[in-house]
Subunit: 230 residues, 2 copies
DNA sequence: CGAATCTTTTCTGTCGACAAATAGAATACA
DNA sequence: TGTATTCTATTTGTCGACAGAAAAGATTCG
């Protein structure tokens, strides 16, 4: 592929590499444990190692890559043994962000929610797993934004990122079942937010999160000896 | 001051600058809005701009500094107008981490808690505000660690950092009152954790957090026109 | 005297090169 | 043949230098 666009704007190099590497990691195009070579990336993007390095430092700060001093840097492993903390945090953030959205959203937030909801439904209908996972994350991130608490939004985004990788594994193993149920739950959540029904939003967020978690947990409990990349 | 130690280990430069700048920012030795000059820092630490830059990228990732493209980079401002999201997140994290500590702590975690509790009490008795603020943050961070959820620990640490700056402002304005009450509450929290009483830990964490929040809120509601650095 | 334009200055962003550190290959030795 | 040691190769961490961008200052023109 020809990633080497010749003319770039001055400060955009690191950002571009960061965005692209991030997507490739979260979509499992870069498998956990893959080595990351600075020189190789520099050649691929037609730039020096300096902006590459800046992107890697950012990714490292978010825990997406890990760096062994003076030695290699690689895509962070998925910690399958300690999933409960992730699930606990996810469920709580689903609850809190949905409740806050019901409380703090403004009229101008709603069109984006409806649009992302429709997009998600379309990807489910089209059985496009990658787009489905990304759109689902975008939908809940938008709800969090409408809740207007940047601290919760930040943590939730990170948790959604982390689960993006696991959902890819999930749908890679079980392509047969597609969650129409989640589409309906999204509709219910939007309705509760619009009605400013805090308790309903909270409850729906919790139920929704627990359904997703249960689905993923079922996968990993069934597949203890499946060939899951470390 | 002579920060220029001549011989450093290979990968330690950026880390050292990061730690030091972070402390200076959180202790308000660098006021919010202060400009940060890479060349100046490079001279001060006797190293090139490259490791300085890495430290700055890290700090920027945590929101402690802000960068205008191609132009200056400066210490992040404290957003006094939107304190409720910070307080909401703080209270929730105090609750969750204390509850999880009661649930998941191991025997080996307790000595550290007792030690940090004693240190905090000592700093309160000595009226050393800077040490008090740092030790208090360390105490609650240790509780969060004992709860063994790295996602909550990460967010909570960031929130504690952010409030460290505000507590400095607080005690700078009101040096007369020192919170013996918080020392006692810390003791109660430890007791609830040791007893594995989840609900009590949750409730104490909530009360404790709300007391601190109320104290800080009282300052800012009284001092709308005080000379608070932007 | 004021406003618009040009110049200077002062940063940042990027580059290519070099040196240190480590892993792995090659070698020597028992 | 197995083990310890040296050597090599690869990759990172750091450096000094240069060019681009934006603000501050100087200059010209109305």
């Amino acid at each position: 592929m020809s990633d080497t666009l010749s003319e770039r704007k001055r400060g955009s190099g690191a950002r571009m590499v960061y965005d692209l590497l991030r997507d490739e990691i979260l979509d499992l195009k870069l498998a956990p444990g893959s080595p990351i070579d600075e020189v190789q990336l520099a050649e691929r993007f037609g730039m020096s190692r300096t902006p590459i390095r800046e992107a890697l430092v950012r990714l490292s700060g978010e825990g997406l890559i890990e760096t062994l001093p003076n030695r290699s840097t690689m895509v962070s492993a998925i910690d399958f043994l300690n999933l409960s903390p992730l699930f606990d945090a996810l469920v709580l953030m689903y609850r809190v962000t949905t409740r806050l959205a019901a409380q703090n959203h403004r009229a101008e937030d709603l069109p984006a929610l409806h649009r992302l909801h429709a997009e998600y439904a379309a990807t489910v209908a089209a059985r496009d797993t990658s787009a489905m996972i990304a759109t689902n994350a975008a939908f809940h991130a938008a709800i969090a934004e409408a809740g207007r608490n940047p601290y919760f939004t930040g943590l939730f985004s990170r948790l959604l990122d982390e689960s993006r990788r696991m959902l890819h594994l999930y749908y890679r193993s079980y392509e047969e079942q597609f969650p129409q149920r989640f589409v309906d739950e999204h509709a219910d959540i939007i309705a509760a937010i619009e009605a400013r029904d805090l308790d309903a939003a909270d409850r729906l967020g919790k139920t929704h999160a627990e359904a997703i978690v249960a689905q993923v947990q079922a996968l990993f409990s069934r597949n203890d000896r499946l060939d899951i990349p470390l």
